[in-house]
Symmetry: C2
């Protein structure tokens, strides 16, 4: 399992997580399902790391020795083709979890989009805990279930949606995922570059840039700054995202 994002229901937990970077393992959103003694054991296992923007958290092919819980910042999970083509398979935020893997090596890379802090657990010890705590395993399965549904949505986006529809979907989904900013309605923080958005949506930077300009021209969004925008017409944007761009015209 590559990465597990926190569940929508866990929104409070997520926010909490982002606020308690000092308390290490307790920041782990799954903690809600654990008893106090288990939490203490997790705490004891955890390393706290801070990594600068651009730094690598996980390298594709490396032995899978750790699992991670993100406590602040934004992480990109990605895969590369030998010639350098890149697919970003997800952006992770505070409260999200990553690193579980079926084999002994990671099959993906993870890098900091902005300065990131994480709790790092030895994989074997974490596995041990999982075996002993069905509640933990249950929570992870719950998350994995959710993550698989999200993956199907990303597949229809990549396989069947137009560039406009992809951007619209992205802009609507992103704020739900990022607890870093209080959810001012319509306000979207874009910690990632155009290039990262492009590699997430299966497009090029030029197309991303052009489509954002077009959405702006159509009055659907306003570009506040390079890394911040406003959704002006959520309804029409949603219709676009769902492939009903013409219904509302």
């Amino acid at each position: 399992m590559l990465a597990l994002r926190s569940l929508p229901a866990g929104c409070a937990a997520r926010r909490e997580a982002s606020e308690c970077t000092a308390c290490g393992a307790r920041a782990f959103a799954v903690c809600r399902t654990l008893d106090a003694p288990d939490l203490d054991r997790l705490d004891a296992l955890a390393d706290r790391l801070t990594v600068p923007a651009g730094a690598s958290l996980i390298r594709d092919g490396d032995p899978a020795r750790h699992v991670f819980s993100i406590t602040s910042g934004c992480v990109r999970v990605l895969k590369l083709l030998p010639d350098g083509r890149r697919q970003i398979t997800g952006f992770l935020f505070a409260g999200d979890f990553m690193g579980l893997s079926s084999g002994d090596a990671y099959v993906f890379a993870a890098e900091a989009v902005e300065p990131v802090s994480v709790c790092r657990f030895p994989r074997t010890a974490f596995r041990e805990m999982m075996r002993e705590s069905p509640a933990l395993e249950h929570a992870l399965l719950e998350r994995a279930t959710h993550e698989l549904a999200a993956a199907q949505n990303q597949m229809i986006l990549l396989g069947r949606k137009t560039a406009q529809e992809r951007l619209a979907s992205f802009l609507l989904d992103l704020p739900d995922r990022d607890p870093a900013r209080p959810p001012v309605p319509g306000h979207v923080r874009l910690p990632m570059t155009r290039s990262e958005i492009a590699d997430y949506l299966g497009l090029t930077i030029e197309t991303v840039s052009r489509v954002l300009t077009k959405l702006k021209t159509q009055g659907l969004i306003r570009l506040v700054s390079m890394h911040e925008l406003l959704i002006l017409d959520p309804e029409r944007l949603r219709a676009l995202a769902d492939g009903m761009g013409d219904r509302l015209d």
Copy 2:
């Protein structure tokens, strides 16, 4: 969770599954992790169904009342956009499992590609069993982990690979998944139509047809019949699939 394919390690289990369609729940590949009494309980819960080609097993939006274990045939899992665009997110075969879902309704559809037989379990009873059997939950998490890794691979395919690379990847992956045919090396059974392949790979039928013809012309494959082909040059096909098409030229 939409669908869980059997693990590669479970190849023997899978084959067994496809051979014992008569024994119902015991065909469920996860059974390997359950004790005999649990198996008997599963057996008691299961309906055995046979559905004709083209029939619907799960409709998007329907209340999620069952989970399914496929005992023979091929199932397509898909999502639709309102205007009819279709993305097939996976093909399932004997031994695969589907239907777990985070919400109360299915968020995808499942339809028989060819005549299919399944074991159907009431979702609530299955959940109950999961709660009582950590081994079952563990097995499902294991599978989900694997399925998530596969989803990442499909994302790089859909987001970054060319039509040729997509077809090459598909032809190489498919036989590993389908236990219906003894794994004659290089022999690929294609139970699905060109249209289904296209909707799985994010292409059109015409492109699928043209690329298959091109692969044939290049001596990489031979089209034995409409639903059967031979891989003549696995190495070059693999190189193509991995985006190293030029390396071997």
